[in-house]
Symmetry: C2
């Protein structure tokens, strides 16, 4: 071992911290190796000894975002008194996340690792977990449905909400005078998950 100011792991975390801040403030584009290195107080070379590429650094930020999102949704579900309310709460919490932490959310869904680089298993596990959270509540709401149908419903609803957020944030909804949350509510009504009766 040599040099001592920070351990390898500390430098790694420092890099993720700085990258995260860049992304939150200026989006994925507003982040570059030289700027991050300078902000860390190290040279670019050091950054590259800890991350093979900038893509992998962005990925680590996305990992944090994913875990934070999962936590939010889980707590939304737990606070609800019954499954329909849980579904609505999770959906709304998701919309809030997209609207409030826009840059973080957009990076989470727009960034792609270069071809050939596979996502770590843990990442995929946590992403699948988001669907599972919804599936649990749907299973409770519709106990008679087959698992496969529950899976389909979960994906249709989740992707639907996601699509509304995507288009809304890109101003591609042509929604003069329409409230995003009203559009989401419209979708929720279609899934019979709004209005109260258990």
């Amino acid at each position: 071992m040599a040099r001592g100011k920070h351990t390898r792991e500390e430098i790694r975390q420092l890099a993720i911290d700085v990258a995260e801040q860049c992304i939150v403030e200026h989006g994925m584009q507003g982040m570059n190796a030289r700027h991050i290195a300078k902000e860390m107080g190290y040279a670019v070379g050091t950054l590259y000894q800890v991350f093979k590429s900038m893509d992998l650094l962005i990925f680590e930020v996305n990992m944090r975002s994913l875990l934070a999102l999962e936590k939010k949704l889980r707590s939304a579900a737990q606070d609800a008194t019954h499954c329909h309310a849980a579904i609505e709460a999770m959906v709304m919490r998701y919309v809030d996340y997209a609207l409030q932490e826009t840059n973080r959310w957009q990076t989470l869904f727009e960034h792609r690792l270069p071809e050939g680089v596979e996502l770590p298993e843990t990442y995929q596990k946590h992403r699948a977990q988001l669907f599972r959270l919804l599936e649990e509540q749907l299973k409770c709401a519709y106990p008679d449905k087959f698992d496969k149908d529950i899976a389909l419903e979960a994906r249709a609803l989740w992707a639907g909400v996601h699509g509304i957020c995507t288009l809304a944030l890109l101003n591609k909804l042509d929604d003069d005078g329409l409230n995003i949350k009203d559009i989401v509510q419209t979708l929720l009504v279609r899934f019979n998950t709004v209005g109260g009766e258990v």
Copy 2:
């Protein structure tokens, strides 16, 4: 006037042709000024006399994609015998477009003009037209609904389908063994637009 091989407008169209081909074959990333210029048989400088920036060139390709998509959806609606069928046909045509012309479709929705550059009015008009096509059919399917509710329904359904396509193409649906079209059908069922009865 001077020089004659091509008029300014011909060069413009030539550039869009080449850019379109690049995008179709390799996606938005697989396109760059030098390559396009070489393929056109001109120098980069000439390209920049016709397009202020590469972003505006991509935009022109997107304009073409948008018009093509609009045409497809319009014909899908016209071929249908009643409004529920029209809605289903349009949605499925949209999914086909996303799945078959993936690079074109992704560029259409992922590309953003730099801040400060506004979308031309004609573009916005055609994009709004996509929603209007769906609204027409929804209006026919649900004649008692208010216009505002129709607008909400159109956006919820459209964005929903869009979200499914987005996540499916990015492999972010965690859909082991699930068919994308089945997920879309699930969404359609929720909107009561599948199954036949008028």
